[in-house]
Structure formats: C-alpha cells, structure tokens
C-alpha cells in the first residue's frame, strides 16, 4: 500500500518535529551547562567543565530563594490538599440547583490569570491589615504567608480535580454499609473514605508541590520583600544570563525525569500486581519484582540508562581536569591572535585573563585609561594598524607593541562573542 507508507512517513516526521520542539530547547540548555564559555551556548565549544555547578552552589541568593520555595510549597501542599479534598466531597453535597454555580466558582481560579490572583490576594490582606491597624512585620504583610494563600487559591482547584476523578470510582454502598454496621461518621471517614483516597492524596500532594514550586505569576506579587527560587531566577535571567542557570536546569530536568520514571514504574508494578493477583497467587515476590522490573517497560530501561550515564559522568569527571583544557584553549587563542596580527581592538598580550566577561573588560578599559573613551583617540592606534597589517607574520613584535592601544579591554575582541576561528 503506497498511501499507507506515505502516511507512516508523514506521521513519523511529525513525531520527530514535535518531540524535537519539546525536547530540543531543554537538551540544548542542558548542554550549555557544561561549556566553560561565559555565555550559555553550544556552538563554539570551549571546554567541558563542572564549574557552573560549583558557582550555583555558591549562589547565596538562589539558595535562600530555594529554601523559601520549599517552605511555601510545604504550606501550599497542606492547605491545598485539605481544601481540595473538602471541595471535591462537597460537590455531591451541594443541592443540585446550586451545583453549577459552585463548580464554576471553585474552578475559576484555574482560568483566572495568575497575575490577577496575586494582586487580589495582596490587596485583600493589605486592606485587612490596615483595618486592624497591623504593623508591617505582622502576618498581613508577610510574603511567605501571602504567597501560600495566593497559590493555594488555584492549586486547591487542581487538587480538587484529582479527588473528583478518584471519587467517581467510589462505591457509596461501602460507606452506607459501614454506617449500618455501627461505625460513627468519623470512623467511616477515616476507615473507608480516606484509605480509598490515599493514592489521590499522594498525587494531589505531588501536583501541589510542583505547581507551587514553579509558580511565578502569582508569587511575584505576593512575595513582597522576600524571594523564592523563581523570582530570584527571573531577576537573574532578565539582567544577564550565565550558564549557572543552565546548571540549575540540568538538575531540575534530571529530577523531573527520574521522578516521572519512578512514578511510571510504580504504577506499572501496581498494575502488574493486580493483574497477576487475579491470575495466580503463587508467584514469588522476587519473581514478581524482576518481571515488573524488566518486562519490556521502556521507562525502566530509560531509568537504567540515566543511571549508567550518571555513573559514566562521575568516572569521567574524576579523570578529567577542566583547567588543563582551558589553559590549552588560551594558548590556542593567543597563538591565533598573534598569527592574525594585532587589530586595533585586539590586544595580543592582554588576553591573559582568559575570555573576560563583558563587564569585566569594560571596567578594565575604563580604569586603564582615565579618559572616557579609553585610547580610541590615541594617534598611535591609527599609525600602527596599517603598518602591522602589512606584516601579518610579524606576530610577536606586534603583540608587544599594541597593549597600550587596548581601548576597551577585550570588549570588542571578536572572540568574546564568536569564538569561531577564521
């Protein structure tokens, strides 16, 4: 069938494009975390390095925000799971005429822009604070408290949806039977309803944690004077980017993948257990486990691959030193510059500081020359350039002549932005 092969090629191509779009950005970002260049990039590869992870670990602001994020996420998990559970249980209790209204109101926070939720929470507690004449370090102006409430507004709705889908499979006869047999309401709730909902509580809690952890739109308004991981990150990304953010992304992506795979494996094992339990009760626990582990589950195989890759990385990093590579790279660069001959903006011997960051270069230039324009107007610049250009082979001498003409430090050195050797 010709048309079917055509179709399958089409579908395959589409899948490749789709998942390329889905994973390409994340993979490229992860790669940049291991490049020693100051700007996160893949194309001109400098040196393989782990230094950005070290820089990440030394970033106090980020760690501070991370701590706050954890505290907030903890609070949100507790509040949202409780509210979401109550909201789902109430859905069947509200009398039918009011049910659509109830549902619309509690589901609306999902659709309302996070910005609006953040603002309304901030304003509401601000006004309450004014009403009771609270001081500025009271709870009404506390960023953590406001953020927990602001995020819970819509995360509770997520949790509620999780509970609703679980409750749809609940058999109300169980509850009635317990009550008939003399259990109290609290007992019924604790012994029948809650155990039935345990899996849903688990997934609602995970969902709430993740949603809280990655939230920005609401948090940026309610956090007031404090900071969370996302607000710190947003500030860093907006005012200049460097690969330590990529390093953080690598960690988060890795954790997400491992978490997702572990979740999938767990679900699969549970399903297998159910299926096997129906067929035979005799298979040994170990056999069960091994079969669950390796029964052609792609997720499990992927997890193994991730594990092996992790081990490989650890081994590699113990064998390899980034410092040596950087030294080599610097030598190469110097050599290249000497061969090309000096450019007005390309001091040969000043490159010793190993691809300085833009700002560093700029301040250096400003300090070296007290005039605002550095040495741009130095007459020697113009005199030297043509003569040296005629003698490109005279590398060393030219390199020694030109350091004074380092007008803006390395700012305009083409190497800063584009390392591709010409």
């Amino acid at each position: 069938m010709k048309s079917s092969t055509f179709l399958s090629i089409f579908v395959g191509g589409y899948l490749v494009i789709f998942f390329g779009y889905l994973f390409g950005p994340l993979i490229l970002m992860s790669i940049t975390a291991f490049n020693s260049s100051q700007f996160p990039r893949v194309a001109p590869w400098d040196c393989f390095t782990f230094e950005w992870f070290g820089e990440l670990a030394a970033d106090d602001k980020l760690l501070d925000g991370l701590g706050n994020s954890f505290i907030i996420a903890g609070g949100v998990v507790v509040i949202s799971v409780m509210i979401g559970l109550a909201g789902a249980l109430m859905l069947t209790q509200v009398w039918p005429r009011a049910r659509p209204w109830y549902y619309t109101i509690v589901i609306s926070p999902i659709l309302v822009p996070g910005v609006v939720l953040g603002i309304s929470t901030l304003l509401f507690w601000d006004r309450l604070g004014v009403m009771v004449d609270a001081s500025y370090d009271s709870v009404f102006y506390n960023g953590t408290f406001l953020t927990v409430l602001g995020q819970s507004t819509f995360i509770s709705a997520y949790c509620m949806l999780v509970f609703i889908s679980r409750l749809q499979r609940f058999d109300p006869a169980l509850e009635e039977a317990a009550l008939d047999l003399g259990a109290t309401h609290v007992q019924t709730f604790r012994k029948i309803m809650l155990p039935f909902l345990y899996p849903a509580i688990g997934s609602a809690a995970v969902l709430a944690f993740l949603a809280s952890f990655e939230n920005y739109n609401t948090t940026v308004f309610t956090i007031v004077a404090e900071s969370t991981l996302t607000t710190v990150l947003a500030n860093q990304v907006r005012y200049g980017i460097n690969p330590s953010i990529s390093a953080l992304a690598v960690i988060i992506v890795a954790l997400t993948i491992v978490g997702a795979i572990a979740h999938e494996a767990m679900r699969r094992r549970e399903e297998l257990k159910v299926r096997r339990g129906e067929l035979t009760d005799t298979s040994s626990a170990f056999g069960n486990f091994m079969q669950g582990w390796l029964s052609g589950n792609p997720a499990m195989i992927l997890l193994m691959l991730v594990f092996v890759a992790g081990l490989g990385t650890v081994w590699f990093s113990s064998q390899y030193s980034a410092g040596q590579c950087k030294l080599d790279l610097r030598e190469q660069k110097e050599l290249l510059q000497q061969r090309q001959g000096p450019d007005i903006f390309l001091p040969g011997s000043d490159a010793g500081s190993d691809t300085p960051a833009l700002e560093d270069g700029a301040t250096d230039g400003g300090l070296d020359n007290n005039s605002g324009f550095g040495g741009v107007f130095d007459p020697n610049n113009l005199e030297q350039a043509p003569t040296d250009a005629d003698t490109p082979s005279d590398g060393e001498g030219a390199g020694a002549e030109s350091p004074g003409s380092s007008t803006f430090g390395d700012v305009f050195a083409p190497d800063n932005l584009n390392e591709e050797p010409q």
Binding site: L22, R41, V42, Q93, P100, E214, V237, N418
Partner: protein, 307 residues
C-alpha cells in the same frame, strides 16, 4: 437550617465542620472577597495612606478610562495609544499562540488516543509531562539560548550559509511565540486527548469503509466529537498565554510589551496600585468576554467544557 442539620447528621460534627470550614474559607477568603476587594480598589484614586477614608476617597472610573485615553491640560482628548496597542497586540498574540498550539497538538492527541498502544503510548505521555514540570523561567531561558543573537539557531543558519547576519528573533517576537506555545502544549493535548479517547473506533472504521478519505474522517467525525475538548484546551491556552508574565519578561522584545507587564509596572515602578488593579480587571474581563464570544461563534455550550 434544616439543610445544615441534615448535613451534619449525615457527616457528623467533625467531618461536616471540616468540610464547611474548608470550603467556605476557600470560596470566601481566597476567591470571592479578594476579587471583590480588588474590584472596589480599582475604582478609587491613588491616595497616600493618610488620605484613605478621608473626603477625597471617592469612587472614580478614571483608572479604567485611562486605558482609552484622557483629556490633557488643554482639554483635548488624547488616545492612550501605547497601552491600547499593547492590549490589542496581547490579545492577538494570545489568539495566535492558541491557534498554533491547536495545530501542533491535535495530531499528537489523536495519535495518542487512537493509534499509539501500550508502552510506546506511555512513553509518549511521560515525555509530554516532563517539559511541563520544568520551571517556567527555565523554559523561557532555554528559548533565549536557542533564539538569542549568538544562539543555536542563528549559529546553525550562519554555518549553513543561509543567512549572513543574525536574525533578531527576540525583537521579532518569534522567540516569545515559540516559548509561549511551548509552555502550554500539555494543556492543549490532554483535553483533546480525553475527548478523542472516548470516541468509538468503530465510527472511524465505518467512515473509512464507506470510502471517506482521512481528512474527511477528521473533519466530519473526529473533530465534531472532540469539539468540547478542543474548546477547553483552547480556552485554557488562551487565558494562560494572555495572562503570562514570565515569558514576555524574558523573551519579549525591547519594544513590545505584554499587557501583564503594564500591570506589573503599575504595581512596581509606577506605584499606582488602583490603576494596576483596574488594568488587571480589564484583562480578566476581556479574556472572559472573548472566550464566551468564541464559544458562541463555534456553538459550544459552557456546560460541555471542563468535563
């Protein structure tokens, strides 16, 4: 009171009390009162704390009309063209992002629901979820690396000799659209997937047996059936991308603002909270109106979505 008595009889005091307390806390303290308070706040002048509650603290619609324009000191009406442009561009761009996501996601949702089987389908779902849980900021950051001036795409195009100078994807807002579309893929796929999954395969088989080409099967059988799912996916993507803040802040071009950024500015650098809340309400209201209009246009009832 009878209602409450029945309720507590049915659930007992502790469980019933917990249900009532949690739900009313949610609805009143977290949802309704803050929104109403914001509405009230948006109709007030921006006064220093000492004057709040004084004789000058009266209601005004000026925060809303400010978006349209105002009378200058010579009493001539001046349209607020900057803000209006931002507003209309935001809505337009959100529509575009929604449409892009729909085109991209419908085939994959169909594939997942009707074609893919077993472990492969699971792996696909898993790989859809992973990018969604990576931080919003980091996703935007990834697109900045990709589309930046010396980013991967520019470098690739240059080395292949297709272009000589870097294309400024950020100024052209291409990076922003790609980043926003990326962020909400999952929210588009899952409603459509849910809808298509419940479609009986026999209907497709029947259409095929009767000689319908594949595109007509989709047009006449699958899409009408999946319309509620498509609507709820589009609604979510539209609302969220119109209300996005992080991606426009990071990926937006220097000359193009997103409406949420205006709100953010009124709250931070602008220091005019009432006007900021008026703008927030305008955003919320116009998004809702737009969604309702679209639903009227495509003949979808409100009750059908959100299932």
């Amino acid at each position: 009171m009878n209602v409450f008595k029945n309720f507590f009889d049915k659930h007992g005091l502790i469980v019933g009390g917990y249900l009532i307390f949690a739900v009313s806390f949610w609805i009143l303290i977290l949802i309704l009162l803050p929104q109403l308070n914001m509405l009230d706040f948006s109709f007030r002048f921006n006064l220093p704390p000492s004057k709040v509650g004084g004789p000058e603290d009266v209601y005004t619609a000026s925060n809303y009309t400010f978006l349209m324009g105002r009378y200058n000191h010579e009493d001539v009406w001046v349209w607020n063209s900057t803000d209006l442009t931002v507003f209309y561009r935001t809505i337009l761009a959100a529509v575009f992002v929604t449409f892009f996501d729909l085109l991209l996601c419908y085939p994959i949702a169909y594939f997942l629901a009707q074609v893919a089987r077993g472990g492969f389908a699971r792996l696909l779902v898993l790989s859809l979820v992973v990018p969604f849980w990576v931080n919003e900021i980091l996703r935007a950051f990834a697109f900045r690396i990709l589309f930046g001036d010396v980013g991967v795409i520019n470098a690739t195009l240059k080395s292949m000799g297709i272009i000589d100078d870097s294309i400024d994807f950020i100024r052209e807002d291409i990076a922003l659209y790609a980043g926003l579309g990326y962020a909400y893929i999952l929210l588009m796929i899952f409603p459509i997937y849910n809808a298509i999954e419940s479609l009986d395969k026999n209907q497709i088989e029947a259409a095929r047996d009767l000689g319908s080409p594949w595109w007509r099967i989709h047009w006449r059988v699958v899409i009408p059936f999946a319309k509620p799912g498509i609507t709820s996916g589009c609604t979510m993507v539209f609302m969220l991308s119109a209300g996005a803040l992080a991606a426009p802040q990071i990926l937006g071009g220097p000359s193009s603002l997103w409406f949420t950024q205006l709100i953010y500015q009124w709250f931070n650098t602008g220091g005019n909270w009432p006007r900021g809340s008026a703008y927030a309400i305008i955003l919320l209201a116009s998004c809702i109106i737009f969604v309702l209009l679209m639903m009227r246009l495509f003949k979808v009832k409100l009750g059908e979505i959100g299932r």
